[in-house]
């Protein structure tokens, strides 16, 4: 009984510090909104309190507006979903004019996901964002499975990865994360290629390539035929790849893929992630950031840890 009371008192005595430094981006806690599901933040901003989210990685921005893929674009799958949105986005100029001013004032760290079909396009977006106030970092998306050219093509070949990361590196002084595709034979090789080319951090995983067929129509279900699988179904795959990437590089890793609980987030951290991002899980629960943040705090208190430092990669040691 007394022991119990003592433990309770101990738990009360300190507030664990959840802040982390992700490649030079200081986050108040390790929970980010992943690029895509959160759009440009406005819609969720009306809906939920952002206070427990550390930052948002906005939907991919390309040099010119992209229309996206023909519908249907999404389908639910067991413990997940398949999507082929195709990076519909308003383009760099409209993003800077319409979205960025609103994002600047939302009190969150802001990381812009950069997409392109060619190396010049990637570099062009990075260059166009260089002078803009309020951007804390870039995430280079070389892993989207849902566009015809570019995208994943850069993320599945180490030489192409190196080239595109170098090209973007020349255009930006901002912290640069490179988002890797799981659709490769050896994630470590891709992570190292990005690190050697000047990335400040690795972000993974993007979706796993997949498809569904509508048997009533006898046709692929998605307008784009192929899509990307996300959600809890891919969590163990993502976790393994985060483990392998963290082992391969010295730069910090941002882990994501099917996180829906604080325990999932802890697993990514213990595999070697500095921070985590939530995507599909936000659809199940728009308040997921709060759930994870609270759960992480509780865990640190229970373990008597002051911060997350000692947990990063602990399962690998």
């Amino acid at each position: 009984m007394d022991e119990k009371k003592d433990k309770k008192r101990q738990e009360k005595e300190f507030e664990p510090d959840l802040s982390v430094d992700l490649a030079g981006i200081v986050l108040k806690n390790p929970v980010l909104a992943a690029s895509g599901p959160f759009g440009y933040g406005h819609e969720y901003g009306e809906l939920t309190n952002f206070k427990d989210l550390a930052g948002i990685i906005v939907k991919g921005v390309s040099l010119e507006p992209w229309p996206g893929n023909s519908p249907p674009r999404i389908s639910e799958t067991p413990a997940g979903m398949l999507n082929a949105v195709g990076l519909q986005n308003p383009g760099l100029r409209n993003f800077i004019k319409e979205d960025l001013p609103r994002l600047r004032n939302c009190g969150l760290r802001l990381i812009v996901n950069v997409v392109g079909c060619t190396m010049d396009e990637y570099a062009g977006v990075a260059c166009g964002l260089a002078g803009e106030v309020g951007i804390d970092g870039l995430e280079l998306n070389i892993s989207c499975p849902n566009i015809k050219a570019g995208g994943m093509a850069f993320g599945t070949d180490p030489a192409a990865t190196r080239q595109v990361v170098e090209a973007v590196r020349r255009e930006t002084k901002l912290p640069l994360l490179v988002k890797l595709s799981p659709n490769v034979a050896d994630i470590g090789i891709m992570a190292r290629a990005a690190e050697e080319a000047g990335a400040d951090g690795i972000s993974l995983i993007n979706t796993l390539s997949g498809m569904l067929i509508n048997t009533a129509d006898k046709k692929p279900l998605l307008g784009n035929t192929f899509g990307g699988l996300s959600g809890p179904a891919i969590m163990p795959v993502a976790l393994k790849m985060v483990w392998q990437a963290a082992e391969a590089v010295k730069i910090p890793v941002l882990g994501m893929g099917g996180i829906t609980t604080a325990d999932d987030a802890l697993q990514f951290i213990m595999a070697g992630a500095r921070a985590v991002a939530i995507g599909t899980g936000l659809f199940y629960n728009p308040e997921l950031a709060t759930v994870i943040k609270t759960g992480l705090e509780r865990y640190l208190k229970k373990e008597g840890l002051l911060n997350l430092d000692q947990l990063e990669g602990i399962a690998r040691s």
């Binding site: 959160f38 819609e43 996206g68 023909s70 519908p71 249907p72 639910e76 949105v85 659809f283 199940y284």
Partner: protein, 239 residues
């Protein structure tokens, strides 16, 4: 209601007092099923005074089955009201409902007192699930039709609309895509304003994920946020 369908009534005073015909709610799955997307449902009835909403559910997949199996008194998380609904129908408007498309149109029919005609159509009698009592509204003329003639007039919604459209100031429709395509074509031909409520697979339901788009004359638009109700001349339904 018939087998495979149900009505779910939800105590949701805030939504019930705000919702307009044509808007929808996202119904989140029970907490025992944390790995399923919320399901969008058009509002079928909204009683602001008593703070209750009713949705119509066709039980055809795992999600709808889970919702239908919830007993009275159980808790469901809702998000809404969402999307853009119908504009107010002028007197003499025609409402075209195909199958489950009755849900938003029953609400629209109930929202006004002016004379209006509801064309309530389905493939077969069993799919005209809306109880007659729910449509017993003053000033509402109802014409039922089935493709196979098992109830009402034998024919499609398009057949029925073609015979009724002359002189109508506006048409409001919800139903399967081929029906909406036909409604749009007839209304354009007659020069009658028409509003169509569209259905699409959704994830976020609030316009963030861009998963539920429809092709329009201005490019892809979000069914959940820019719709679900669109002016007929804007949407390209075969795109």
């Amino acid at each position: 209601m018939g087998p495979g369908f149900c009505r779910i009534t939800l105590a949701a005073p805030d939504i019930a007092s705000l919702v307009e015909p044509g808007q929808f709610v996202q119904v989140f799955m029970p907490p025992e099923h944390p790995h399923m997307l919320p399901r969008p449902f058009s509002i079928y009835k909204a009683d602001a005074e008593n703070g209750v909403l009713t949705i119509l559910v066709e039980i055809k997949g795992k999600g709808s089955r889970l919702l239908a199996d919830r007993g009275p008194g159980s808790f469901l998380k809702l998000l809404g009201p969402l999307g853009r609904g119908f504009p107010p129908p002028p007197p003499g408007s025609i409402l075209v409902a195909g199958g489950m498309g009755i849900a938003p149109l029953a609400f629209l029919a109930e929202s006004v007192n002016k004379p209006r005609t509801l064309l309530y159509c389905a493939r077969t009698a069993d799919l005209l699930v809306c109880p007659g009592a729910d449509l017993d509204l003053p000033g509402l003329q109802i014409i039922r039709a089935t493709d196979d003639g098992t109830t009402g007039i034998k024919g499609t919604a398009a057949d029925l609309l073609s015979g009724q459209i002359e002189g109508a100031p506006a048409v409001f429709a919800c139903g399967p895509r081929p029906m909406l395509t036909a409604v749009k074509e007839i209304c354009l031909r007659w020069g009658v304003n028409a509003w169509l409520s569209l259905e699409e697979r959704m994830a976020c339901g609030i316009g963030a994920c861009v998963g539920c788009v429809v092709l329009t004359i201005d490019g892809y638009k979000r069914v959940c946020r820019d719709g679900p109700v669109f002016p007929a001349e804007e949407v390209i339904l075969d795109g």
